[in-house]
Symmetry: none
Subunit: 412 residues, 2 copies
């Protein structure tokens, strides 16, 4: 089975946004064992879209479109796909009713344009969209399959994972598959990680490829086999070897970020944590509470941006701040210990630093960050000099906080 | 002049890397005033590449390829482009000599395959590559222009900026440039925004196109004119009309997020704010402090995740929580007022809700969020039912917080 992806949108065509959806879908199709013939991007122009779709159907069995399913005049994909396949769209009353309810509930008028989203093909059906109003559309006509998905990634990704790929996997009868697994590594740089697995990187099946991310490294293990089970077994064996080499530096797999590993570890062990953040301004608390179920672990935090707040909220001595400065190992420790005491948690986090772009001095430059983890047996303080924008400095700091906390728990 | 971009590479096609180069080139072409007809991605397959190139030359005057210019067997673009245009490649002695020197200097053997990089078209020339061994190639034949550029961004970007765009600008006789401006809109949905500017959307130059984002809408105003000055003037006039229709719903321009608009507004007026967050877990504080210079505006915040923390940190009465529940308009108001008092700020923010995926009840479902803004003259409380994942619910809540705060300040 051969597929082609057509991305729709003038913003994409003109490069105003980068097309991460098409790459995501392409990876998914590969994993299902479908070869991709070509990818195309067209603007919000119905004639060009239909031309591209017709050309695509000449070469491929499945054509998947991304974008252009919204309620506005620019949104032309539903009609374009119907035209390319010679099919007709009809209003689905159930979907129309759902849309009417959606807008009425929000006290918004039900515009005629919104009801365009209830159109479904005569030879096909809608694909449910739990995160938005525009359902996807699936055509099955004359041996060809046409699938239209909406552009917003939070709608596109679950629809791809939960509907499109399982549907296509069933269609292909599952012959030959490519699987992959990402091992996520923190606290070790790309070169150092690569150094420890150099020999494994020489094999092509399974292959191991490193990708540097901000504050972490991802190792993608990929295997190709006749069956999913075989591929999974090859991956498991190879991943085991990688884990042996990298030890606790491997914190998790696939899409699970560091905060999830930390929350799960703490939940498992019945531990609690609290935060007192200065330069990260709530980023650490936000990342931890981004994990579902974090309320069992995270009791609370303070964002002590001003010096008065540091003293008032978590009892950092004003004297200490005057003596050593707010950006110091001592104040990081006082923040961590203050949080731990204030919230009565097992662990307390303190972060203070210069996020930039302003506020740096020769002695305390932009990127200087002190992190403290207060724990039952003491307090660990770390000093870093991060390089990058304000957002990068803050992200790297939060990454180090979470990794220090994780390793501290693992090391007892 | 009409152009098409063809990206070459199996890694790109399969989505193992995201194609940022094509987006970069598309933006550059737009600025030079060249319209882009289509973008295509093909794998390392010469036949498919040639087919895509021939199709592209049927529709467009200029076809630019990215990738596939290296020394390996996979690198097929140079030959593919020659075949599509019916041209011949010959070895350029100067480039060959440069390649020999390059490899000899590094004590590497000069392979025949490396010398393929010295091939240039009979009807055309090489494009110098200061950062790599593979020069670009430029064909000019039968009124068509074919340009091949290497894939590594550090080679591709300077070649695009220093050679390709100036060359094309000269070719077009500098007639015409495309400029655009994004107006960012919050508190109004895509359809409602569109409803108010429907007539403006019918014009094609300047054009106005809406794009739905999570919790906001972007309106892209694009103008094509002979000179940059003309285009900018057309955009300014059209943007003025859009702003008249949408009023304070337009919060900013281009890449500046809502938090930046809020921090700038508060800085201008010398106002301060503090936060007491439950379900957003520090996200509001994090977004505000993400803005450089926010320390003048944001004095501090608390993440009152547990009920005890709500009472202890910002004096929300335990009685009140017991009576109406933590997720209630009353507790949102108490959080906002508690924060405002605790930090002594002009404004105080309170957020409480059910972020999900667990924790919802029939009465208080996942997505229910109360937001309160306490201000010198009183307290405004808003109730929302957000749909989507935990991350989406939290993001939409933070978006509403920032917009409520902004409108409250603007409305005195």
């Amino acid at each position: 089975m051969r597929a082609e992806i057509v991305s729709v949108g003038t913003e994409l065509l003109l490069g105003q946004i980068v097309d991460t959806n098409a790459a995501y879908l392409a990876r998914g199709l590969s994993e299902v064992g479908i070869s991709i013939y070509r990818r195309t991007t067209v603007g919000d122009n119905r004639e060009r879209l239909v031309t591209a779709l017709k050309e695509a159907f000449e070469e491929s069995d499945v054509v998947l479109t991304i974008g252009g399913l919204g309620p506005t005049m620019d949104d032309i994909t539903r009609e374009g796909l119907a035209e390319a396949l010679g099919d007709t769209l009809v209003q689905n009353e159930e979907i129309a009713e759902g849309l009417r309810r959606f807008f009425t509930k929000r006290n918004m008028p039900v515009l005629e344009s919104n009801l365009r989203q209830a159109l479904v093909p005569v030879h096909g059906r809608a694909i449910a969209n739990p995160n938005g109003t525009a359902p996807g559309v699936l055509f099955e006509k004359d041996g060809k399959i046409g699938i239209a998905l909406p552009g917003p990634p939070n709608e596109f990704i679950p629809m791809t994972d939960d509907h499109v790929l399982p549907y296509l996997r069933a269609k292909t009868g599952n012959i030959g598959t490519i699987r992959s697994l990402v091992l996520r590594v923190a606290g070790v740089g790309e070169s150092a990680a690569e150094d420890r697995i150099k020999d494994l990187m020489l094999d092509s099946n399974p292959s191991v490829a490193p990708y540097a991310k901000v504050g972490e490294v991802h190792l993608r293990v990929t295997a190709k086999a006749d069956t999913a089970e075989q591929a999974e077994r090859m991956i498991a064996e190879r991943a085991h070897l990688v884990r042996e080499r990298l030890g606790t530096a491997v914190y998790g797999e696939n899409d699970d970020p560091l905060e999830k590993a930390v929350v799960h570890l703490m939940t498992e062990r019945g531990l609690t944590v609290s935060t007192a953040e200065s330069c990260t301004g709530g980023l650490v608390a936000q990342r931890i509470t981004d994990v579902a179920g974090s309320s069992a672990v995270f009791l609370g935090g303070v964002v002590a941006y001003s010096n008065a707040a540091k003293t008032d909220l978590v009892a950092v001595s004003a004297d200490l701040i005057a003596r050593v400065g707010a950006v110091s190992a001592e104040v990081a420790q006082a923040l961590a210990e203050g949080a731990r005491k204030r919230f009565g948690t097992d662990y307390g986090i303190g972060v203070t630093g210069v996020a930039g772009p302003g506020g740096g001095t020769e002695e305390k430059p932009v990127g200087l960050v002190y992190i403290a983890v207060s724990y039952p047996g003491g307090c660990e303080v770390d000093k870093s000099n991060f390089i990058g924008s304000r957002a990068i400095v803050r992200h790297r700091a939060s990454q180090n906080v979470l990794n220090m906390l994780r390793l501290r728990i693992l090391n007892g």
